[in-house]
Structures are given as structure tokens and as C-alpha cells.
Symmetry: D2
Subunit: 329 residues, 4 copies
Amino acid sequence: MSINSFGHLFRLTTWGESHGPAIGCVVDGCPPGLELDEHWVQRFLNQRGPGTSKNVSPRQEPDQVRILSGIYQGRTTGTPIAMMIDNLDARSADYPVNAPYRPGHADFAYDSKYGFRDPRGGGRSSARETAMRVAAGAVARLVIPEVEIASAVVEIGGEQDESRWQAMLDEARAGGDSLGAVVECVATGVPAGWGAPIYAKLDAELGGACMGINAVKGVEIGDGFAAARLKGSENADAMRAGGRFESNHAGGIAGGISTGQAIVVRVAFKPTSSIRVPVPSVNAAGEEADAVTRGRHDPCVGIRGTPVVEAMVALVLADHKLLHRGQCG
Amino acid sequence: MSINSFGHLFRLTTWGESHGPAIGCVVDGCPPGLELDEHWVQRFLNQRGPGTSKNVSPRQEPDQVRILSGIYQGRTTGTPIAMMIDNLDARSADYPVNAPYRPGHADFAYDSKYGFRDPRGGGRSSARETAMRVAAGAVARLVIPEVEIASAVVEIGGEQDESRWQAMLDEARAGGDSLGAVVECVATGVPAGWGAPIYAKLDAELGGACMGINAVKGVEIGDGFAAARLKGSENADAMRAGGRFESNHAGGIAGGISTGQAIVVRVAFKPTSSIRVPVPSVNAAGEEADAVTRGRHDPCVGIRGTPVVEAMVALVLADHKLLHRGQCG
Amino acid sequence: MSINSFGHLFRLTTWGESHGPAIGCVVDGCPPGLELDEHWVQRFLNQRGPGTSKNVSPRQEPDQVRILSGIYQGRTTGTPIAMMIDNLDARSADYPVNAPYRPGHADFAYDSKYGFRDPRGGGRSSARETAMRVAAGAVARLVIPEVEIASAVVEIGGEQDESRWQAMLDEARAGGDSLGAVVECVATGVPAGWGAPIYAKLDAELGGACMGINAVKGVEIGDGFAAARLKGSENADAMRAGGRFESNHAGGIAGGISTGQAIVVRVAFKPTSSIRVPVPSVNAAGEEADAVTRGRHDPCVGIRGTPVVEAMVALVLADHKLLHRGQCG
Amino acid sequence: MSINSFGHLFRLTTWGESHGPAIGCVVDGCPPGLELDEHWVQRFLNQRGPGTSKNVSPRQEPDQVRILSGIYQGRTTGTPIAMMIDNLDARSADYPVNAPYRPGHADFAYDSKYGFRDPRGGGRSSARETAMRVAAGAVARLVIPEVEIASAVVEIGGEQDESRWQAMLDEARAGGDSLGAVVECVATGVPAGWGAPIYAKLDAELGGACMGINAVKGVEIGDGFAAARLKGSENADAMRAGGRFESNHAGGIAGGISTGQAIVVRVAFKPTSSIRVPVPSVNAAGEEADAVTRGRHDPCVGIRGTPVVEAMVALVLADHKLLHRGQCG
């Protein structure tokens, strides 16, 4: 119900703006007794970190997480786990207050909703918030040790051949432009029976979770849109004795409930709207002016999106493990 | 948050099995004073009804809705609106208890979760439940009179040329097979400012809502997966004075909040798994046997999916209108 | 969270007006495999039924419940359990539309909130809604077979001596007046560990659940207000080896979590505001006029309140058993 | 739904242990554009602060709050407001790990639930958490400027005569004992129409909110338990033209909805269980031993409870103002 919270029983609440003093989160509902320290969380944050290659934002943020509650003697206590990351390399001068709205970015929509906004670094709408999703996802993984979650970029700028990507990224960056990407995430080890009928379907929750990641415009489960081009007889995943399936068009979910097969999610990231190429726009006063983003941004946000997709998948699965245990014992 | 409920402030709860005595729903949180009667709801139910053409299930269900509460002298009172439809043409003999699991259907997953299930007509997992979404969606439309919602099938079996569809459908039905489809839904008139940051983003909610419709495997907002193939400069929707946009790649949503442009959602329906073509499977005892569905089904569920997509879009928008009014006045 | 729903994982939604065609509820999140039929539910409804003695409303309602979903072959399936009771003996003529607001009743408050209301029999604000709480409570009891819940009226009109009550009730009824009552409910068999810190404390949930029953104005856990008159050394429940306590001032809950002792809740019911004694009031037009209730009412609603208090306690405990199992396994 | 969150639209999540590095909260759903700074919040925290007189805990905590997000140029932005207070004067040595469970405290219940706990200063169960309720309540007050909330201790140790209290407190402190108290809170200026039927009744929400405050064992609305001793004709609040009432037995709420009269809540605080008087108990190993609390505690927690009661009332009212606006415009 809350707009900055996610999950039912395993529940994440995040806070913080891109250029405020810090960002943080509260993870509520975590089972007690799990071994957890900052090193474990940091490992996943480092996968997302900026400044690690020329293909991602040059912003220098060590993103050093601190755990402020919910742990005693190295184990979770069942009480809320608060985590925080200080913002160190904010350059608010990059974001003049009267700048034209960046088309495709949240600027105009936030102003329309709230009447005004914190413009520095995108404020609350910055993808910096996703660091806390990654941190919470690291905790979620401890709840589901039986599950392995892995993801990869499978397409950049419409190109599936990896060997072409670096040249394309170099060209986009040089031109002050950006590229979209598709990320595929696979979760293996999920037993049959997680998820729930109707409005908490596992695919609905994964769909909502991934569509809510910054810059995402499409989500598929299993064959996704390609399934809409098959016949029913082609799309059927034949079953054999012992719970073995002969194919996995369904992506591991039927009727909103896991089948025991690998869960497959594919996520489309648009090219970031923070580009140096001028785009016609207006400012808050309604005056027309070209938008040119000068902040430090990723030429392809999908690359840093992979750990975020994994985190959201981990959060959904941990939550549904607990929900299933709650209802079905 | 509850597994058979949907929405935050404008909230739908549904109940009922395909072959039980009835199906029904409760719509909670509806504003008072709206004119509502059964004719209005029935109009939308009739769009979804089976037995209306050879392309949809021949099951004969008048689907006559009764409103049991929440209305006084033709207007909503602000209290829960209960609606109910009797199940009249259930043929449970079509569903022997020891039948092999229908691959792609929820049978196996339900048994894995709950230990047993009502097998008659798919029980709770039947798409019959979507009738109540349509009924609730009809109420939701009254909450958002400023919004026009329309949808259409834009692709069947991978084919976008409408003139080819009837032949394809005839062939699929004759062969006891089924076809997938893509449905596009457009909502115009949504003012800028609906939606909410982070975990109640309008696109996340629409994504989750539509992914949770039976047989849906993919959802796109605006350009969706195609956006992942564009450059940032191509994908940017230039803005001009007066709140005018020169394109709508974003599908009317930025940062999770409506921009005032048309909201565009595209939904991929897989071909139904209820087909007469035999598919290798197992039964609850683990014995291998071919699954052959003999019930009365749709050759292309996407066709009857259009009013359901519209209903889910209406439910999300009505809910977010109220949420926005609650927080921002 | 929704205004006509109650509970987190084991969740009740009710609907219906006093003089509409029916009242009903949906119980969501019930574990699968529990034996349930209408006889079990009816048994508890009959405890609440009107027309059973001269001390309760003479309205003749058989209150025959029908279960419409969520059961297959006599057992719960894990899907929503819909229950319904037809309204048979509604006498709407007892409630003229322009009648003065009944002081103490919801009439004026509903009009203030919604602009208008269904006045027949109190509409949605009628205690008739509590029949569905009792029905849902009957299902909740199946979830917690280890728990025994019992309640009794312990005070009527300020008098604790039972032998005086009948004369007091006769006098009140003869005078068209009503009496308040205090109900005590005890739940034994709750293991230590149910409940949750801070905002889902077992006592907070019981407090909210019971304060939300029609006509309730006060709730106590354990010694309640009397505890505020003790010293800490007097109020302490000494513990002995084997989990034995030497007293139970705390009413079985510490820090919001059950201790394994009996859970004790005491609930104050005001005298019903539906009385024949004229009370100065105004009508919807703002004109002063005496309110005189002519409908059929209980001289002491606390008497019929006992099964409702038990039901709310059962709902809270069932919910928290599932919540505890979800988080802690 | 979440165990460490409170509220529907205006929603508080708290975190932190008594002897961890800090405690904090996130306030989500706050309307944008409200003037807010740390001074405003601090003013209410100072009312709750320890070390201010001999009647409250001598723990020296400046309780200096920092606001970390959700504000730009001195106004709320509509995004989450994170607040944090560092723990400075924690003396964990006061809490040996193998100490006997303090009877009446949460120690035993937490261990029963989670298997182990942070014993330092009561960990999560410490009343230190209520500082964040007070901080959030300060923000809530900004949402409801039309409402005035005031509270007072009306009874200590069963004594209503204020002039006797100091001697009683001196005696209790000297004897290492503690006293209970009753706090009354009155909210004026609430318009008729806030609240909601059935399961989000204003009195149910206030009842749950106040019963969930540490050490609270009873809650009354209006005349509370005294109403159970009145006749209906005595308890009726006669209404006169112009929305004027001649009495307020109901405490400003009818049918769960505000009537425009003052809302009156009375809350019973037990004497704190942290006392120096030895009480027979057991430790985690099950061995019998007297519990003697040596930490620094309040002789009468009800005194510092007043700002907490006010905060909970403010949170409920702010939430219901937004809920009402959401549904009814």
C-alpha cells in the first residue's frame, strides 16, 4: 500500500535522494538467525557500482553500506534491518534549478504531481535508489539459499552479438547518446508451489517488480511475446514422470505458481534519457529550450541494471517463500 | 496485498470457482454518489461473454450480474459493492478427477502448492474469474470519467494483418489447437501526475496487473522492447510549450507518473493450454499419460482478453486517482 | 488495510447492508485441507442469532449461511471462502428517510462523510455485519485447533452479580431503554511466540479488533486499567522453571508477543443508542426533532456481543499463527 | 501489514535497537509542500526526552534528530522522510547476556519467538523506539493543522489528586519500584466525517495505535468502561441545530467516524516491569533466579507516555484525513 515499500511479508522500504546526505532502506520481516554482515551486502553493491568501467557512469561513489539495526552477534534478529549509504560525490551544480525538463525523465511528471521537486541529480527519481534494492536483495538471498539467481545482458541496442557491443557503446558515449538493452534473469532451485493465485501471482509480482525498475519498459516471463506467436501445441511444456518437463516455454510459472522449473524473466531497458544530445523541451516556467544533460551518466543503464533485476527477483522469491510457508505450513 | 485482492484504495476482492455455485467480488473504497446499476456492469460483461461467436468458447453462460450491496437509490454509498454471477452451464463431467495435468495449465502447480485442488473446470484458476475483474472494472470507469479506455487485438499467431486471422482461427479450432495474441490498450485523458514513485509506479502497477491476467506472458509500456533497440536521442519525447509532446515512445508514463499523454500498454497472451491435441503429461499419481482437454475453450483467449485488459487498466487508474487525491489533495 | 477488510495473511472482507438482499464475506488466505462445512459455521452463528430470548432483538432471521467457494469435497482448498446470508426479515418501514439522527448511532457521521446513506436498518453500520465476523471466526478456529476461546458477560449495567441481571434487563426493556455490558474473553493454548513487535503487537491487534466491534468503547488486556493502579512489584508475573508463571496480570502478552499464558481481553459495550426513550436530535435538514427508535433492538447488545468478541479474537490469533509461521518457520 | 510499519496512506516505518548505533524511521506518503525542519521535530522529542526531571529515566540522551531525506528548501517533497537519532549513552554492561528474564518485559516472549534476541537495553522492545513515533507524529501534525492535540496524566498509582503524585513517585523510586498511570488525550478540530466503517474505524485505529504503545494495557474512547455502566438514555449525546451536541459520552466518534466533537482517548499504562525489587524468574537456560533490573528507568513510564499517545493520535488522524480525501474528495 505504501508507495516507497515493496513486498508483503519480506518488506523493503527505501528513502533518500540522489544528492541528499544519504540513501537508505529498512528490510522488515526477515527471518531470525540468518548470518549477515556488511561484507555480504557490499559484494552485491559492488556489482552495481558506478565508476567501474568506461561503460558506466564515472560518478565516484564507494557506496559503502552500513547496517544500523536488526543484527546481533552476526545474525539477523527478526527485527528491522536498516542499511544506509552516504552520498559523497554529489555535484549538484550539474543540475540548475531552471533547467529544461529532460524528456523521458521524471522531471516534468514529478512537478505535475507534487508541484515542485528536488532537482539535484534527479532527486528521488534517480536510479541511485536502486542501490538499496540491491542491498535488500542481498538480504533476500539469505532467505532463499535453495535458489540460484543469475542474470546477463542479452541484447544492447538491438544487437545480440556480444562482440559488437563495445564498439556500439564507444560510439554512443562519444556522441553523447545512449543505448537500450535487454537483461535476462534466471532463478533455479525454486521448488514447485511458490506464488499465489489471482492477484499475487508469481509472474504478476515479478512483472510489477521489474517494470518498476528505472528505465524498464517491458517484461516477459518465459517465452513472453514470442509465446503469443506459437500454437498451443507448440507452447505446451510436456511433463514426464518424476516432475521432469521436456521444455520450459512457461518460464517456470503456471497459474501464477512455480512449477519447479527455472524461472525466466526478460526485462527491456530503454536508453537513458540523460544524454548530451540536445532535445527540444520546456522548463518549469513553460518556456521552450533544449534539454542537454551534463551530469555523469551511463551510456547503457541496462548494464548496471542486471544486479537490480536480480535483486528484485530475489525480493519477490523470498517474500513468496515466506507467504507460502505462512499459508501452507 | 492479500492474494485474492487487488488495489490500494479502490480495492477488488474476488472469489469463486469455475464450477461452483457462483463467482463474485467485493469492490471496496468506491467514492460515494456515483450512479451505478446492473445494466452498466452487464454491458462490459457482455463484451467478455462466451458463446458470442465461433472464435470463443461455446459455453453458454448468460453471466447475469447481480449487485448485492453498496448502492442506494441508484448511487454508490461508499460502502462495499458486492457483485455475483451464478454459474449455470458447468459441465464438471468434462473434468475427470484423475485426468493428467494439462501442461501449461495451473493443475500441477496448484497440487504442488495446496496438496489438492478443485479440478472441475480449472476451479479457481479458470479464466472465469476474470468476469469479476470486468465487473469491477466497470465500476472503476465511473471513478475516472475523464479517462477513455479502449483496446484491440493487434496480433494473432504472430500475424498483424487482420484479414488473415479468421482463416488461422478456423484452422486452429479445426485442429483442436490454439493461437496466441497481442492486445494493445490505450487510455486517454489521464492527467499528468497520477502514479507514484518507486514501488507504486503507474507502469509497475499496470505491468503487474496485466501480467496477472490468465495466459499473459509479457507486458510492454509505450515502445516496450522496441525501446531497448533505440538510441536515447531517438527515444526522447520532445516537449513543446503548453504541455505538448512531439512523440510518445514512453507510453504516457515517466518516472512512474503519468505525463498527460495517452497511456499505452501491450499485452502478450499465450495460446491457451486447453487444447485437444494430445500432450505428454502425468497425473496426480505420477503416471505418464497424454493430456487431452475436452472442455469447451477458446481457440484464442486473447480475443476475450481485451475487456479484461481494459478492466485491469481501469482498476489501476481509478486506484491511482484516489491515491493521488489522498496524498496531494 | 482496506476499510472493509481485516487481517494480514488470514483476511476477512465483509459486505452488505442491514436491509439489502443479503450480507456476506470473503475469507482469504485460509490454509488448505481443513475440514469445513456449513454446519460448523452455523453453530457459531446460532449463538449470535436474534430472536432466541426476550433479552435480544425479536427480529426473526434464521441467518442460514451458505458457503459459495473455497471448499472441495468438504475441505478448504486454500482459495477464497465466500459465505452469504440472505436478509429475510427486514422491515424498512421502521426507518423513515427523514427521521432524526439517532444520537450515538452512526447516522449523522455517515451523512457527514459520504453525503448520503442507506438509512434502512442502519444500512452498513448495522450490527448485522457482525454475523459475518462470526462466520469468519468459525473458519479461523479451524486454523488454530490448539487454542480454546471462551467468553462471557461479566457485567451488565455496572452490576457484576448475575442474579440481578434479569430484573435489570426486564426494566430496561419495559422502559424502552438499554444497558451496557462488559464481556471477558479468554484464549488458552496459545503457544509463546505469536504476535510481533511494534506495530503488529498481539495486544494492539486485539485492541483494534475489539474496539472496532459495534458499540464497543473500551478494551483491556490482562489487568487493563487496574494495572495502572498497581506497583511494578505487584504487577510482575513471577516466572518459575518449566515456563510456569505465578500470576497473569499481563493477560498472556508481553512486548506484543504471547507468553504461553491465557490471553485475557475485556471489552466494554455501551448501551445501544437504538432506544424508545425520546432523545433530542436533528434530521438531515438540520431541523430539531426527538429521535425515537422503533426498530427491533437488543436491550443489551453486549449479550449478543460475546460470540463477536470470540470471533475477533479467533481472527487475530489465526492471522498471527500464519504470520509467525511465515517469518519464523 | 508490515510488522514495523503503521498507517495506510500516511505511513511510518521504524527501526533500531536501544543499544545499537542509532534508531530511525521513514515517514512515507506525506503530502508535498509542508514546511518542515528539524527544530519542529525536536520540539516534540524534547517533551519525551529522558533526564529532564527526577521522575524520568536519568539516561542522558540529547536525542538530536536529523532529517535525511524528503525535504527540499524547507518543504516536504512528497517523497519519504527519513529521520535518525544516534544512540549515545548506551550502557550495555547493565544488561548481562545470561540475566534472568525480567517478568512483564518482552525478554522471554522475544526469545520464544525468534530463538534469540539482542538483550542490550531491551533491544528492539525498548521504549526508546517511541522516540521515532514522536518524531513522525510531529510531521503528522503538519498534515492536520486544523486539529489541536493535547494530553495529560490524569491518574498515577490509582490517585487522581495531582498534589499527591510527587510523594508517591519519590517513594516508588526510593523503593526501586514503579507506578502505573492513566493518560488522557483530546483532539479538537477534527471535522465530522473522518474515519471509515467496519475495519478502519477511527476508534478501532486509535485503540490499536494506543494499545501498541509500550506498557499500555487498556484504552477507552469517550466514556469507555464507564459507558458500560450507563443506560442508553443517559449515554445518548443529544444533538441540536447547527451540529451542536449537548454532551460527549461518545468521545467524538460514532460508527467509527468522527462527529465533529472533541475526540477523547484514555490510555492505561502499567507500572514498568524494569524495577530494582527482585522478582522470581528464570534465565534462558531455564534456571530459576531473581530478576533485578539495574538499568536506568522511569519510575512511572506513563509520564513520558503522554507525547507518545499524542503522536499516535496525530498519526491516525493524519492518515484518516488523507484516506477520507482519497475516497470522498
